[in-house]
């Protein structure tokens, strides 16, 4: 018969697992990183104009240039710029989505052989590593500055995220439904129409809308490098210290993003619950 030795509190205390090596290692790691960072980041104080600028920007939001903000007829006033930005984002998303569909199918392991899927995924990964601005700067050399370039840039830049998410949805397809349709005698087109598309459509749409939200912000950034929309006027106004214009532009931007976020969230939740 085995006799069980009763544990004493003292023994347990002494045999406590040591957690400090990991904690020390992580702390050291961060200390080293911060020491390196110190060489690359230094606080040079505020510029002469620094504080004034900060205050002006904040104040500008509360006293924007009303004509600029509410001038609905001019192409260079805020409302049109917002419209242009939205249009760039919209087209970029649509084109990006359309291009992503075949790319995603050709990169899904349940559709094409594994080697082909790997190549496709690799290409998508490469496309994704570059920030949109990089594509923007390149496309400007191709089609010049302007909204059109913004559209092309976003189309390409969106592929990365959209294709990746599409692949996830495709690989999640329920083969059972297709099997059932097969068993009832459907041909390939019918299988695609009634078996695959319904499963995919709402997910694809949700992804596209999500990307559209993001693209509106990117369209603004791309504008700053010259690809149309509200970005360029914003950068000019800030650099020229035209504060009331800056205020108008910022208010326009904030409202635009908030509205699109709200609408997008609403639509996507409706999609998720089965409209």
């Amino acid at each position: 018969m085995m006799s069980k030795k009763k544990l004493t509190v003292q023994e347990v205390l002494e045999n406590a697992p040591k957690s400090w090596p990991l904690k020390v290692a992580i702390t050291l790691f961060f200390i080293i990183i911060l020491m390196i960072a110190n060489n690359y980041i230094s606080y040079n104080g505020l510029t002469d104009t620094g504080v004034r600028v900060a205050r002006n920007i904040l104040r500008s939001i509360f006293s924007p240039n009303m004509d600029y903000l509410f001038n609905f007829s001019s192409r260079s006033a805020v409302p049109f710029l917002l419209l242009e930005t939205t249009a760039i984002a919209f087209l970029g998303t649509i084109i990006g989505t359309v291009i992503s569909i075949p790319i995603a199918f050709l990169s899904s392991r349940n559709i094409v052989p594994k080697w082909m899927a790997s190549i496709g995924v690799s290409i998508i990964v490469v496309i994704r590593t570059f920030p949109a601005v990089v594509y923007g700067l390149m496309f400007i050399r191709v089609t010049g500055p302007g909204a059109f370039t913004g559209v092309l840039t976003l189309s390409v830049a969106s592929i990365g995220m959209i294709a990746k998410l599409f692949i996830e949805v495709i690989e999640d397809l329920d083969p059972g439904i297709i099997e059932a349709l097969d068993a009832s005698g459907c041909n390939t087109i019918q299988k695609i129409q009634y078996g695959i598309i319904p499963q995919l459509l709402s997910n694809f749409a949700s992804t596209a809308i999500y990307r559209f939200e993001i693209n509106v912000k990117y369209a603004t950034i791309l504008g700053m490098v010259g690809a149309g929309g509200i970005g360029a006027p914003l950068i000019f106004a800030i650099n020229a210290f035209r504060w009331s214009d800056v205020g108008a532009l910022l208010i326009g931007l904030i409202l635009l993003v908030l509205v699109i976020e709200a609408v997008s969230t609403k639509i996507r939740s409706k999609l998720a619950t089965g409209e």
């Binding site: 509190v9 205390l13 406590a16």
Partner: protein, 255 residues
């Protein structure tokens, strides 16, 4: 000593959970509260440590007026009262010892509790508590790897680590199987006897309540309809408390 003087509790939605409770509980008592679901057991228990505020009446715990407690005083007061829950309320992904040490947090300065700097005394208290409920060997195990009964004992150890004078137990064994329930209830009895801690337990299962508690309080529709030794309980009294025959659900069964 806990003194209820004509205590009532009406919720904002109009429900009268307690309709005039007068009750004295001495230090060291082992009390089981029985009654239908919704009769007011949970509410009664939670008024003692002000998790629920009473509407009218007086509630004194060791001569302290519970309703007057706020902020720091309230938290100091709660340190002396432990609470055990039906669903254990352990932090699942953390080890047993860390769960028990969490009881010491209330007494620690802010920065120490943020950084997890428990003193040696804290650790000793935690380990002694685990030893008291007989689960010392699981000290460094993750809480979700334990069985239900073991988890409840850890929860009990957690309250013991507070070094409380009173332990409130809200249906502590309702989620456990019969064998484990008897083990856990024995732990409560042990704690009550050895440490002279007042134990007040809401019990769903009447047979367990009668077996382990010395004193039983029956609640029906917010009023006390029985208060006396468990040996005095008979079928008539039970029918009065429950308004009907006991269902199978309210009996735990043999060990």
């Amino acid at each position: 000593m806990i003194q209820f003087k004509d205590v009532t509790k009406t919720y904002p939605n109009g429900v009268s959970a307690l309709r005039g409770i007068t009750l004295d509980i001495e230090q060291g008592d082992f009390v089981a509260i029985i009654g239908l679901s919704g009769a007011g057991k949970s509410t009664l228990l939670r008024t003692i440590n002000q998790m629920i505020k009473i509407s009218t009446g007086t509630l004194l715990v060791n001569d302290i007026d519970v309703t007057s407690l706020k902020g720091k005083k309230l938290r100091r007061f709660r340190r002396d009262i432990g609470m055990v829950f039906q669903s254990f309320n352990l932090i699942k992904r953390t080890t047993v010892i860390k769960n028990v040490l969490a009881a010491r947090v209330a007494d620690m300065p802010f920065y120490k509790s943020m950084l997890g700097l428990y003193s040696k005394k804290d650790r000793m208290i935690a380990l002694e508590a685990l030893d008291k409920v007989g689960i010392l060997e699981k000290t460094y195990t993750r809480a979700d790897q334990l069985s239900g009964g073991q988890q409840q004992r850890v929860a009990l150890a957690r309250t013991l680590a507070q070094e409380p004078q009173i332990i409130l137990a809200d249906e502590p064994v309702a989620s456990l199987d019969p064998v484990t329930s008897h083990q856990v209830m024995s732990d409560f009895v042990k704690v009550n006897k050895d440490l002279n801690i007042t134990v007040i337990a809401n019990m769903h299962h009447v047979d367990i309540a009668l077996k382990y508690a010395r004193r039983v309080i029956g609640i029906k529709e917010g009023l006390i309809v029985f208060d006396g030794p468990s040996s005095d309980i008979n079928e008539d009294i039970l029918t009065e408390i429950y308004g009907r025959q006991l269902s199978e659900d309210e009996l735990m069964g043999e060990e």
